[in-house]
Subunit: 638 residues, 2 copies
């Protein structure tokens, strides 16, 4: 009988080397940031989507041939209009929820549990996709510049995820230079490129893209409304990340709602400019769909030439912002996970802040699922896109609906009256009519877009998400059920004083008569006078030998020998204990004292039958049987 040895100081040292020394709970940061840094912190997800949104529009339209690419600009303008609607809607949320108004909180306050859990499922799914898509696209920028790295893209992507996971387990301060440098660097380089492109366009020197390894489709398609709507859906990934600011309002300097709102509008404006600009340049340079080269790369080398440093600078800046975008999911996913876990819909572990004050379990879960997606989809952005953004638009819809309901409820209140909700304070708002109209319109628009998504991208992978979100909600409710049951079970509300223990039987399984057994026996006798030793005899000739030895050493304790004709070890023992447990009365306690070898070295465990382990596992299945382990440290007395 044996089990594993404990203590892992080496492991702990290695962990601290990777993620840094433990942080004190009192060290939790409380600093706030201004608008300029706020933009850097929260905008990377939204802005970075310009690096692939245009590509995805062109890849869909190109199925109907080069002529269909004329629709890329109208589609982009449609998406920018939608962005304006969503921005105005969210601006209202930010003012109504100064403590943070993510879709989950808004839905929980105004619509109830089920819509909140749906929003949660949608967002968690999408955060995972944000990591997978952003990293895949970032790697695509790298392999556009260095095509020889293309076969290694999955490994590169997984390496980046591993690195980001470590960085986030160390804990990232959501402020300062770390975010500002890459975001503003990307912003300046991209806006300069767009400006330079427009200058060339208006001076008639824009040039045309050449030498692209054009994408090969399995089937070509006729240009149809369906195809244009599908291009629109794919391009709508540009809107992902717009909600980020509404989650992080408390991070802003006072007046935080006002500052956050202004930052949101700035972000949307910049995003619109960049997205329109890049789509415009793609259209007029004649950029094409390609599996191996991104649109950014095609435009940049047409404008600057492949050898010009600006080519690598733009692609480098884009890669960097994409990695930063993935990083925002590393903040959002664990935060939302902890929120849902706190409400009892996800495993409680997600609320646990690790040694570096971050939500360790959430970070690791996110990294695990994102890596899985990268592997399954071969780090191909285009393959992941059909799954993406449905979740975000579902959460947009739920959130805007929640806001609309909120304005309606607020209209029923008297001025000055206040109702405390979980996530906010509900007050009468004199301008509720216009606000209700704006949020309702936002909800309707995002709902329609979501349906368009689900329909146009269904066969290409969207069905996975359409099935996954309800499945997740189901699982959340199962988890909730378990926690509620547990709480009811453990409640002391109707707890009476326990019955007095009248009899305490102790059973000591003995594999042989030796020091380990003697120690267990000694302990057992100190706890109760009612001790039985049990031996399982595999060899029928064994019984007499052990009886004789017991005569000498057993100190008068009763020895029961159980025959095991089928050479089983823990099973007959369990059966014997089960029998005795079944016979006892309510005031009787049954303890099994298991002598357990603890070898000095872990590999020694391989040299022993793990009977004690299996016995313990079996005993845990019996009701009201107490298990006492007497560890015997082999070789430590010498």
């Amino acid at each position: 009988m044996a089990t594993t040895t404990a203590k892992q100081p080496l492991l702990e040292s290695f962990k601290q080397l990777l993620i840094g020394p433990r942080l004190h709970t009192a060290d939790a940061p409380h600093q706030t940031i201004g608008k300029a840094i706020g933009l850097a912190v929260f905008a990377s997800d939204a802005l970075s989507s310009t690096a692939y949104a245009t590509d995805e529009i062109i890849i869909v339209l190109f199925m109907a041939g080069t002529g269909a690419l004329a629709f890329s600009l109208p589609v982009a303008i449609g998406i920018i209009t939608l962005l304006a609607i969503v921005t105005i809607s969210y601006e209202q949320t930010i003012h109504a929820y100064p403590n943070g108004g993510g879709a989950y909180i808004v839905a929980r306050d105004n619509l109830g549990e089920a819509p909140a859990q749906t929003a949660g499922a949608a967002l968690l799914t999408d955060y995972i996709l944000t990591v997978a898509v952003s990293i895949s696209s970032g790697v695509a920028q790298i392999t556009s510049a260095f095509p020889e790295l293309y076969p290694w893209r999955v490994w590169i992507a997984l390496g980046i995820i591993l690195f980001m996971t470590l960085v986030n387990l160390r804990g990232v301060k959501e402020s300062g230079m770390t975010f500002s440098i890459p975001t503003y660097f990307f912003l300046i380089v991209t806006l300069f490129t767009i400006g330079f492109g427009f200058f060339r366009y208006f001076t008639g020197t824009l040039g045309a893209v050449t030498g692209v390894e054009v994408m090969k489709y399995e089937t070509t398609q006729a240009l149809s409304l369906f195809l244009i709507l599908r291009a629109f859906s794919s391009g709508c990934t540009a809107l992902t990340g717009v909600e980020a600011i509404s989650n992080g309002i408390t991070a802003f300097k006072e007046p935080s709602s006002r500052n956050a709102g202004i930052t949101l509008i700035w972000m949307s404006t910049i995003l619109s400019v960049m997205f329109f600009g890049m789509t415009f340049l793609a259209r007029h340079t004649g950029a094409s769909a390609s599996e191996t080269e991104t649109i950014f790369s095609q435009i940049a080398r047409t404008l600057y030439g492949l050898d010009h440093p600006m080519y690598l600078i733009l692609l480098g800046a884009t890669t960097l912002i994409l990695i930063m975008a993935a990083n925002t999911a590393y903040a959002d996913f664990p935060r939302l996970g902890a929120l849902q876990a706190g409400d009892g819909f996800l495993p409680k572990q997600l609320t646990y802040r690790g040694s570096r004050l971050v939500f360790t379990y959430g970070i690791v879960t996110l990294a695990g699922f994102a890596s899985l997606l990268i592997i399954v989809f071969g780090a191909r952005t285009t393959a992941l896109i059909p799954l993406y953004a449905i979740g975000v638009f579902l959460s947009f819809t739920i959130s805007q609906t929640g806001m609309a309901v909120r304005w309606w409820k607020s209209s029923k209140l008297k001025p000055g009256e206040e109702i405390q909700q979980l996530g906010s304070m509900l007050r009468y708002d004199p301008r509720w009519r216009i606000k209700l109209v704006i949020n309702s319109f936002g909800a309707a628009a995002t709902f329609v877009v979501m349906i368009v998504f689900a329909v146009t991208k269904f066969a290409h992978g969207a069905w996975i998400v359409v099935l996954l979100i309800p499945a997740l909600v189901f699982v959340f409710y199962r988890i909730h059920h378990h926690y509620k049951d547990l709480a009811a079970d453990l409640s002391l509300d109707s707890y009476g004083a326990p019955a007095r223990i009248r009899r305490h039987r102790v059973i000591v399984p003995v594999s042989g008569v030796h020091r380990g057994t003697m120690r267990a026996l000694h302990y057992a006798r100190s706890v109760s006078d009612d001790v039985t030793a049990v031996h399982v005899a595999i060899d029928p000739n064994d019984e007499q030998r052990i009886q004789n030895k017991w005569q000498k050493w057993g100190d008068g304790v009763r020895l029961q020998v159980v025959q095991s004709p089928y050479r089983l070890l823990h099973e007959p023992l369990l059966e014997y204990i089960r029998c005795i447990a079944a016979q006892r009365q309510t005031s009787e306690v049954l303890t099994v004292v298991v002598p357990e070898f603890v070898p000095a070295r872990a590999w020694h465990n391989l040299l022993h039958m793990q009977t004690a382990f299996l016995l313990r596992l079996g005993l845990l299945g019996l009701k009201d049987v107490v298990i006492t382990e007497i560890p015997y440290h082999v070789g430590e007395d010498r």
Copy 2:
């Protein structure tokens, strides 16, 4: 706090479906067999090697071009001579060891522990290679006939291993039809083919092999003595399995040694005829080295034509005998493993007979390592051959040396005097001189061959075995050391009566105040009056809340709150217990009572921090701390 639920009746049912119902210890078989069936049972390993031995000679010689193939017959004759020497040597062993005289037993009796363990390591290694080589060669016969299966050869090989493992876990009766049919079928078909081939040769109608996809070498070689010796080494795989009968003498009818000896000579004679015959036909049909077609297949289709049923019959019979050969390793490996484990040089589990009376652990270990070899070497026989047969020849050498020493020792005895050894009875033998000469010559010959192996095949993979065998012997001694220490540790030889327990301290970790805690507390107080409850406070504000609740429910028991500023759970608890354990006196016992949730469903474990599990692991590392688990079955009262 939680742990896994127990009971696996479904798993047990599935296991019984696969390997059959449990067998009673009294059902162990005791029947014996005659010479004809004995040949079938023990010869498959030796005879089957003709299916690849010729191939391996030709593959090596062919490196020096077609002309070098002229040396194939002389090499084969050399190998047959060696076979005769080994056979005569082993015939003597059989008579000296009527209870079974494998190399391990002979070495243990006559040479001591270290040579015995070396022989054991060599043989275990080679049994694993027997499975890998035989199955790979069997699959090569299949893919020779059905080239479209070639890409699937690793999967086919693994499938066969899985099937054989299940069959052997069910338990094979080593007798009767199961062995006789394939062995005699192969014997008849092969001897007929050889006879037919010689008939065609002498009538001048033998024909020549055409259309072989000839093997491509990375480098060609000049014909040299070294190359011929290497061909000889590779061909010596034909001798593997000759020792099988000496392990299984007790299976024969009385007079068992005589019957076994005659069977051995028969087996070697048949093997010589088949090996010579096939090499002769290969030479005269001009068969070539090929990666995708075996020599058997080349000869058979030249003799019969590809469409003739005899072609498939020969290849089928060969595949079958190769699988039977692998099967003998499934008998030998677990038996030797159990023998070494019984002597304390391998994990004791190997002596354990499972529910079907077979050595379960040995079978599974063999299957695991053989599968690994198949995967690593891509089920390519030629790649495995350099590793093969070194172990067998090392064991030959050790065994014959042991026999020589034995005759020398026996010469010192008076006639009629007897010494009981572990594996046999040592007596004076009047013919000791000639027997000493024969075994010494056998030892010398096999030793020289082994050195030739190691040198000529070193760079091609033999180095793995040359390093592996000493490494294994080292591990065997480490294991032996552990068991000896353990026995000394547990011995009751100088055991005095234990000190009377003066104080019994009980510590109850409480995560919160609930029914699970109450039950643990109730039990703790029934065991001792000296109870302390300990709570780890992660949230600094938590302390007051739990103190208040404890006031109401704690029933006067002392509550110690341990602050955990780094949000660790089991670590501060362990530290606290370690402190208390360090302060106590010798007559003091310390028990930690751990309340442990047992969820109704296994997946619920995912919803809890595994604190109880980690705490228990940590506590097992502390000396003389008793761990008591109070299982709390969640949801079973409702």
